[in-house]
Every structure is written in structure tokens, then in C-alpha cells.
């Protein structure tokens, strides 16, 4: 077959590319079936129409400018930027070639070969979108990393993360400072070989008793104060918290937090030293003076009445000094939170009779009529026995002190469903109305007793502090010159508050 006689138009009927041919006006003169399929138009609908009918308005203007320039110069033009409109209004993007068909160098027709790249473009846009998403994820991961890192770094305590064998997998700057390591040297090493811990006496803590063991083997949080043993330096007290990292119910590692508590330990030591000084060092000479006068008084026939008076005065003032020391000790222990409470089963009536026995001499000396009324239905129960003793001792000795000779003091022990009620009444000097709100303050002493009675102003302060510690309440009713009644309510159910002692080292 002669190729020249081949009907080229037949070719256009069968190729998959959409083809549209316009004259130079330009009016559409031909579209092929692929074009019909792509756009939804029939040849009959488009024949003689300007191709602008296909424009979507989304194609950048410069594309048409370039196209126009090329075609008028008789050149072909290819673009992927044209977006056209179908008959139904939907848009499609094409890969288009515009070819002038010339006769004697002058274009007579223009042929457009269009290839629908909408899907391709969509995929491309999708790709770009995905890439952007990935980029965003990446960025947020980076941010997360920086945040975690910053968080870890800015924590003022040393932090070490370990795997389940105790191998160090991460640590922060503060850790480096506490232990004196470099991060890269410690990573991958076992926590147990990296440093040693000791107790306060310097005895090395065995591997199995270190807090990390508890975290790794029992999945519990372990903590306590331990001493870091470092060559050539003092021991550093560290409060260590070791927490397990649990994944799907299994311990996969642990995180240890190290807080340097040198300051707190020093403060604790100062407290202990003060208490030791006050209780032992201060009271020893007082005991010596008191006992010496007691010996002198055993046979006082040799003294004049004036000498006797002086001796009594020395003895009384020594006793006063002892009482002040005792109050100071109790108040200080209470404030430090290290007043020790003895938790045991005891009948409050039994405690009351002990207190009364201790105050017997003073009660008898002043010929005070003392009444004890105790509810027989109250039986022994678990409470802070020494605290109840201190409360009763303080209130009753105050009552005896502020009641004139021959007056009455009474103690009533009763109960409600949930509370023990202790009521101490006296026929004493009373508390002025204005002073009633302040008598529980530290070292406050009411005007009417300040000069006539000795005291530290600590008794009621300690008493109310103890009552508060037990979750109870104390109220006062008083009229000047007519006596005072203190009512103490103590709950039977004590929340056994863990004393600070428990958090301090138990070694």
C-alpha cells in the first residue's frame, strides 16, 4: 500500500490520544473519538465553535501567551499546565501538544493532541501532600525530641534510664555533675559497676539492696537516702527514687532520679544536734543543781528561815528552768515533725490516772478538790498514748496552776460515736475574752497571768499542735475570775500519719 494514499484521519480515529483540530479563526473543525470520550462533547456540538469553550479559567494566562507566540511563528508548543473543562463542567488537566499544520509555510490548521494527566497530576499532588505530611511528622518528631531532651536537661535532679539488666541507656547533664562522669563513658555500662552506695556509716550497700533492684525485680517504686561514695571526696547524700518502666505488664527498664540532699541532711543534723543539746547537755547541770538542793533539804535544821527561803527559791527556779527546757524540747520536736508518737492500745482513763498521780503533790499542796468522771463504757483502743498523756498533763497542770488554793479541778472523759471527749474544768482565774483567740499561739501569755504565774507560753501551743496532728479539735470556754473549761475532741480512728522519720534514712 502506498503510504501517501493512507487516510491519515483514520489514524486519528483510533489512537488513544484526544485530538482536536481548529482552523486559523480559530474554529473547531474536527475532534476524534478519544476527545469525545475525554470531554463528553460530540463533534457535532463543537464543530465551528471557538475552542475557548473548553477553557476552565484555571490555566495560567502566560501559558496561552506563550502558546500564541509559538503558533504565530509556526512552531509547535507543548505544555502540561493547561486545565480544561468537560461538558459536564468537571476539570481535567492535560499534557497538550499544539502543532501547526502548514501549507506553503503558512499554518492553515492547528492540531492539539491532548493526553489526560488528571490522575497522574492527582497522584503527583498526593505525593507532594504526603511529602509535606512526612516533613511535618519529621518536624514534630524533632520538636518532641528537643522537648524531651530539654525537659530532661532542665530537670535539676540527676536522671538515668536503664534497661532491664540495669544497663544505662540515657542520662542527663545533672547526672554527669553528680557522679562526675561523661555521658558517652557511662552509656551502655551497668549501673551497678558505675558507682557504689553506702549507708550513713559508710558501709557499702549490697547490690541486691539498692533501690533499683526493687524497681527491676518487683516493679515497685523504691526510694531512700543513700550516700554516694566518690574517691577523694566526702560522701554525698542522695535521695534516690527508682521507678520501673513497665510495658505490656513487663518490666523493661527503670528510671532513677538522684537528688543531692546535702543541704537537707545538714539541716537534719543541726536539728538532731540542737535536740541533743537541749535534752542532754542543758538538762545535765539542771539535774545536778536540783538533786544537790534536794540533798541539802534532807536535813534543813541548820538553816535560818531566810537561808531556807533562798534554798527554796533556787530549787523552784531550777524546776522552772527544767520545765522551760522540756517545753522547748517538745515544741521544737513538734515543729520539726519529729515528735515521736507511741501507737498502742490503751484506756484513756488509765492515762488520766497516770497524769493525776504525777500531779498529786501539786494538787495536794494547794488543797485542790479534784474530780475525775470517766465514762465506764470507754474501753482501751489504739491511739497515741504519749500524745494523750501530754495533752492531759498540759491541760491539768495548767488547771492546777491557775486555780487558787482550795478551788476545784475536774476531768470528764466521755465519748461520742466517733470521738473521745476530754473536758478539763477549773475554778481558776479564767481567760479574758480578748485573749481566748490567742492562747494557742506560740509563747503567748494572757495579761492576767503573765506576771503572777510562771510559764513558757508553749504548753497550749504544743497541746493544740498534738491535737491537730491527731485530727482532733480543742475549744475553750472561760469567764474571767470564774474558771475555764477546755474541751478536746480526739477521733477514735487515727490516720496513722507517717512521721517524717520514715522518709529519713532507716539504716
Amino acid at each position: 500500500m502506498n503510504i501517501a494514499a493512507f487516510d491519515y484521519l483514520r489514524v486519528l480515529e483510533t489512537i488513544p490520544e484526544a485530538v482536536v483540530i481548529t482552523d486559523t479563526n480559530p474554529h473547531i473543525v474536527y475532534i476524534n473519538p478519544a476527545f469525545e470520550k475525554l470531554t463528553g462533547y460530540k463533534l457535532s456540538e463543537l464543530k465551528g465553535k471557538n475552542p475557548r469553550i473548553l477553557k476552565s479559567g484555571k490555566t495560567p494566562l502566560r501559558v496561552y501567551q506563550k502558546l500564541y507566540r509559538a503558533l504565530t511563528q509556526g512552531k509547535s508548543f507543548t505544555t502540561r499546565e493547561v486545565i480544561n473543562k468537560r461538558k459536564d463542567g468537571s476539570l481535567y488537566q492535560i499534557d497538550a501538544s499544539y502543532v501547526p499544520i502548514c501549507q506553503t509555510d503558512k499554518p492553515v490548521f492547528y492540531m492539539q493532541i491532548q493526553h489526560d494527566i488528571t490522575e497522574h497530576k492527582k497522584a503527583e499532588t498526593e505525593l507532594v501532600k504526603r511529602a509535606a505530611q512526612l516533613e511535618a511528622v519529621n518536624r514534630s518528631l524533632q520538636e518532641e525530641y528537643v522537648k524531651e531532651k530539654a525537659l530532661l536537661e532542665s530537670i535539676g535532679d540527676g536522671v538515668i534510664a536503664m534497661d532491664k539488666e540495669g544497663k544505662i541507656i540515657a542520662l542527663n547533664k545533672k547526672t554527669e555533675a553528680i557522679f562526675g562522669w561523661k555521658m558517652q563513658d557511662a552509656l551502655g555500662k551497668s549501673l551497678f559497676t558505675q558507682f557504689k552506695l553506702a549507708d550513713e556509716q559508710g558501709k557499702i550497700i549490697p547490690k541486691d539492696l539498692r533501690p533499683i533492684r526493687l524497681a527491676l525485680t518487683t516493679a515497685q517504686v523504691g526510694h531512700g537516702i543513700y550516700f554516694l561514695v566518690k574517691k577523694g571526696t566526702r560522701k554525698i547524700p542522695l535521695f534516690i527514687t527508682s521507678a520501673p518502666v513497665v510495658l505490656d505488664g513487663r518490666v523493661v527498664g527503670a528510671v532513677n532520679i538522684y537528688r543531692d540532699v546535702s543541704q537537707q541532711v545538714a539541716t537534719d543534723r543541726a536539728k538532731d544536734e540542737f535536740l541533743y543539746f537541749a535534752s542532754h547537755t542543758l538538762r545535765t547541770p539542771l539535774s545536778a543543781v536540783a538533786w544537790s538542793i534536794e540533798r541539802l533539804n534532807e536535813d534543813n535544821t541548820g538553816y535560818s528561815s531566810e537561808q531556807r527561803k533562798f534554798l527554796d527559791r533556787i530549787y523552784d527556779q531550777t524546776q522552772r528552768m527544767i520545765q522551760l527546757t522540756n517545753d522547748l524540747l517538745d515544741a521544737t520536736r513538734m515543729e520539726f515533725g519529729i515528735l515521736s508518737y507511741k501507737y498502742e492500745e490503751v484506756n484513756p482513763a488509765k492515762i488520766a490516772s497516770n497524769v493525776i498521780a504525777d500531779l498529786k503533790n501539786r494538787i495536794n499542796d494547794k488543797k485542790i478538790k479534784f474530780k475525775l468522771i470517766a465514762d465506764k463504757n470507754i474501753s482501751a483502743y489504739q491511739t497515741y498514748s504519749n500524745a494523750v498523756y501530754m495533752i492531759l498533763h498540759n491541760l491539768l497542770s495548767n488547771a492546777v496552776k491557775f486555780t487558787p488554793a482550795g478551788g476545784t479541778v475536774s476531768l470528764k472523759i466521755s465519748k461520742t460515736e466517733k470521738e473521745l471527749i476530754l473536758q478539763v474544768s477549773d475554778s481558776g482565774v479564767g481567760i479574758p475574752k480578748l485573749a481566748q483567740g490567742r492562747i494557742f499561739q506560740k509563747m503567748y501569755r494572757a495579761q492576767n497571768v503573765k506576771d503572777k504565774f510562771e510559764g513558757s507560753g508553749l504548753g497550749l501551743y504544743i497541746t493544740s499542735g498534738i491535737i491537730n496532728h491527731m485530727g482532733g479539735k480543742i475549744t475553750v470556754k472561760s469567764r474571767r475570775g470564774q474558771g475555764t473549761t477546755f474541751t478536746v475532741m480526739l477521733p477514735f480512728e487515727l490516720e496513722v500519719i507517717q512521721s517524717k522519720e520514715k522518709d529519713r534514712m532507716q539504716l
Binding site: 535536740l275 541533743y276 535534752s279 542532754h280 538538762r283 545535765t284 539542771l286 539535774s287 545536778a288 536540783a290 538533786w291 544537790s292 534536794e294 540533798r295 527544767i322 527546757t325 522540756n326 524540747l329 520536736r333 515528735l339 515521736s340 508518737y341 507511741k342 504519749n386 522519720e501
Partner: protein
């Protein structure tokens, strides 16, 4: 007092207090031995087998409660009555002493010499 003279051992490092106690107990008819350290105290206790020991807590080297624990391991020392006489009155120390086994825990500045003697008589009667 019934029968023969009762023997008390006083362990106290403050010489002034030790003298006051010692004189008071002698005047009250007791046979008195004294020690100023826990080490000397336990030695005297195991040698002389006193009827009662008055024991201080704070002592120069070994403290009173450590001495008490050692004493309680001895066949004789298990049963001898001990009264703590100290100026420490921290409840923890009191509880610790009570757990090891003492008759009482007296605070020096809160008791008269006469009270101490009376309590010792009470234990030994």
C-alpha cells in the same frame, strides 16, 4: 529493807551526778558500785552480779542501750532489773529501751533522788 544489803550498780559518766546518786544510795542503805563507761559497767555487772543496775544512755564510747543488749545475752544478765536514768526523753529511745527490756525509763531532770531510791526499793522488795 529485808535481809542483807542490796547491791546497786550505777553507770553514769557525769561525775557530779554519779556522786549525788552514789551518796544518796549509800545513805539509803545500799551497797553501791559505780562505773563511768558502759565497758567498765558491764564488766562490773558480770563480776559482782548486783541486784539492780541504774543505767545512763549517753556514755563515752559504747552507749547504754548497746551495753544493755550485750548484758541481756548473758545467762545472769538476762534477768537483772535495769532502770534507765537518762536525760534523753525521746519516745523512740524509750521504746527501744523497753523493747530490750528495762523496768523503767526515768528522766533525770524530772525525778527527785528520793523518787529514784523509792522506785529501786519497789523493784527489789
Amino acid at each position: 529493807m529485808s535481809g542483807q544489803t542490796k547491791k546497786v550498780l550505777l553507770i553514769e559518766d557525769e561525775i557530779v551526778l554519779l556522786e549525788l546518786l552514789s551518796d544518796k544510795f549509800k545513805d539509803s542503805g545500799f551497797a553501791v558500785t559505780t562505773a563511768q563507761t558502759a565497758e567498765a559497767g558491764i564488766k562490773l555487772a558480770l563480776q559482782n552480779h548486783p541486784d539492780l543496775i541504774l543505767l545512763d544512755v549517753i556514755l563515752p564510747k559504747m552507749d547504754g542501750l548497746t551495753m544493755l543488749k550485750k548484758l541481756r545475752k548473758d545467762e545472769w544478765g538476762k534477768g537483772v532489773p535495769v532502770i534507765i536514768l537518762s536525760n534523753l526523753n525521746d519516745q523512740r529511745k524509750v521504746s527501744e529501751a523497753m523493747k530490750i527490756g528495762v523496768y523503767d525509763f526515768l528522766v533525770k531532770s524530772n525525778v527527785k533522788l528520793a523518787d529514784v531510791v523509792e522506785e529501786v526499793r519497789e523493784v527489789l522488795s
